[in-house]
Homo-oligomer: 216 residues x 2
């Protein structure tokens, strides 16, 4: 399976690409193909040193969408609208949003767009044939990058497309010790997206690092 | 310490009263004092059979507020406004809201009032001297009642009053295997209140029962 990462050279995308590269064919997208290829070269070296297999290809964001079966939007909320308006070809692709609309004042606050969540806003921006899921919302960039560390995370997945949700939950379950949970339709993705500012506040106020969430 | 439970004969209040009765002096409030006393009589019998100490007193909701140091509002969201408008004497009391504003359609949805959360709405309804915290939001009625079961729950606590928050976190940490986490000010209580509909959806869609949440 080919997984394309839009924003694959960003803070979250880079670690995500490396974690996924032994498991899937990963197409790293960036605004500039050179930058994506540089990230892939670095990634291949890291994985080679670790003695792990690795499939990484660096292209443009558009190239990553065109080549992939599943497209992950690894972009901060503030860049979602601008980035998506410059891209096309999402028809019939499974698209994954790990995006959390939040702001930091004295603490972190969930600040959803008028649609109610980042996922619902993204759904409005994509063609109706795109098969949108939200997943991976609570996993921080440095945890994606900490390849030596197994991650014990419960990962809620939302979608209105049952088959796409099943595929994404299977992807989730292959990564580290992630465990996917069906969290319902996109209509309730706000409740998943607001977990991240909650966890960031809990980390801050309880002097913890990288708080994970587990459902039992 | 005297803990008053407004709505102490309700679905959540009843189990809460029994769980707290070996640890604190629990004042069970109800609209009718007779009903509160009946709940206490039943509770005393249950705890006696279990060989556990038990301090339960049944009074009116107003009596529970008047007698208590800490008042827990164990009432469904839809009854909060009506109940609070008939009560007084919250000045200088620590008040705990476990209230979650949610609705069930095909799934559970977080439906906050215009203030942004139940806790923020309650703050507007109470005198400014009341020391409001939110806590216990994700613990279901049947878990409160399952006295044989130790509960491994992470319990986020929000408040704008640091000292009141500390007292409530200490109470939380005494109950079963609850672990209190400082989740920040009341401004972010919406992120805690939306956990309950999220967990109810996860239970439903993954065929689980009484999903708990743990922060690690």
């Amino acid at each position: 399976m080919k997984i394309g990462i839009v924003g694959g050279t960003g803070d979250i995308g880079e670690g995500m690409a490396m974690r996924l590269s032994p498991l899937f064919d990963v197409i790293v997208g960036s605004r500039e193909a050179d930058k994506a290829e540089a990230t892939c070269t670095m990634g291949r070296e890291v994985m080679k040193k670790r003695g792990e297999p690795c499939s990484l290809t660096g292209v443009t964001n558009q190239g990553a969408i065109d080549a992939a079966d599943v497209v992950i939007l690894a972009i901060p909320f503030k860049h979602v609208a601008g980035t998506l308006s410059s891209l096309h070809g999402f028809e019939n692709k499974i698209v994954v949003s790990p995006v959390n609309p939040m702001e930091k004042t004295d603490h972190f606050v969930f600040v959803p767009p008028q649609e109610g969540s980042a996922a619902l806003m993204i759904r409005e921006m994509l063609p109706k044939e795109a098969r949108l899921c939200s997943a991976f919302n609570t996993i921080a960039a440095n945890k994606w990058k900490a390849l030596d560390e197994e991650l014990e995370y419960s990962v809620p997945v939302c979608s209105d497309d049952a088959e796409a949700k099943k595929v994404v939950m299977e992807i989730v379950n292959k990564v580290s010790h992630f465990k996917a949970f069906d969290a319902g339709p996109l209509a309730v993705s706000c409740m998943v997206e607001s977990l991240t500012p909650l966890l960031l506040n809990i980390a801050r106020y309880n002097k913890m690092r990288d708080v994970s969430i587990q459902f039992r």
